[in-house]
């Protein structure tokens, strides 16, 4: 798995400085889109009465997730270490199939393209894609 180059890290920090102001909005929209476009992901939320894309539960959870992603920027130099407890949560309690991290990442990128049509250049896109992939990899660290 490729690691983040110094240029990637600069790009990620610069873009996320702009984007994290909208973390809640990004999180809400990305999770809603994921549930709408990939209905199989609803299976992880069967404990909520309302799993429609517009449900309050979904919005709130999107915010939780995106805040954690924004926070991961501060742990760029050691994502594995920084995300250890989150990894344990996902491995032992939530047991989300890691394939779904890719799906959510895609939807986060789509929302970023919508919110930042000019700034989300291919160069920013590749660094952000690598960042989300690195976060996903760290989250899957404790799975087995």
């Amino acid at each position: 798995m490729t690691s983040l180059t110094p240029r990637d890290k600069d790009t990620i920090k610069a873009f996320m400085a702009k984007a994290s102001v909208y973390a809640e909005e990004i999180g809400k929209d990305a999770l809603c889109r994921m549930i709408a476009v990939y209905p199989q992901t609803k299976t992880y939320f069967s404990h909520w009465k309302d799993v429609s894309p517009t449900s309050g539960h979904v919005k709130k959870h999107g915010i939780t997730i995106m805040n954690a992603v924004a926070d991961a920027v501060s742990k760029l130099d050691d994502l594995k270490g920084g995300l250890l407890s989150l990894s344990e949560l996902h491995a032992f309690t939530l047991r989300v199939d890691p394939a779904n991290f890719k799906i959510l990442s895609h939807n986060i990128l789509v929302v970023m393209a919508i919110l930042f049509p000019e700034e989300f250049t291919p160069e920013v896109h590749v660094s952000m894609d690598k960042f989300l992939a690195a976060v996903a990899l760290s989250l899957a660290e404790k799975y087995r």
């Binding site: 789509v110 919508i114 049509p117 291919p122």
Partner: protein
């Protein structure tokens, strides 16, 4: 057999009629070559792909991006027979171009991003779902003749 609702047909037609193929095509292909650099393997004869700036100013890449969008247009005009419409293209990509079909999805992702950036809030979850369904059908059809 793919079934399209009236709403889905309308969404796909609306998306494509709002696109300038000469703009979106090159952008989507450039994005693909930059975000997924291994896809450059199929463009060895296209000239300078050394860095993002070179890719973006490469006229062969731009022309090819436009070609791809016109290729997608054929699917839009034949929604009920995409598999048949693409049979020859599928054989071309398999036998002559030797493109790994996984790459079709990567280009599809980049096109999704470019369309999202263009349509903004108009790219609702429903629109995204329909567009991704369309792209999945296209990708499947392009992979059909591989053996």
């Amino acid at each position: 057999m793919v079934v399209w609702t009236e709403s889905e047909l309308s969404i796909i037609n609306s998306i494509f009629s709002s696109l300038d193929y000469e703009d979106i095509g090159p952008k989507a292909l450039c994005r693909c070559l930059i975000v997924y650099p291994w896809t450059q393997r199929y463009f060895g004869g296209f000239g300078n792909l050394y860095n993002a700036a070179a890719i973006k100013s490469n006229p062969n890449i731009a022309a090819h991006g436009i070609k791809i969008l016109h290729g997608l247009d054929r699917a839009v005009k034949n929604m009920d027979s995409i598999k048949e419409t693409y049979a020859e293209l599928s054989t071309l990509h398999s036998e002559k171009l030797h493109v790994d079909p996984d790459n079709f999805t990567l280009l599809g992702n980049c096109l999704t991003i470019e369309i999202a950036a263009k349509l903004g809030d108009g790219f609702t979850a429903e629109t995204q779902g329909t567009f991704q369904k369309f792209m999945a059908v296209v990708v499947n059809a392009l992979g059909k003749q591989y053996h």
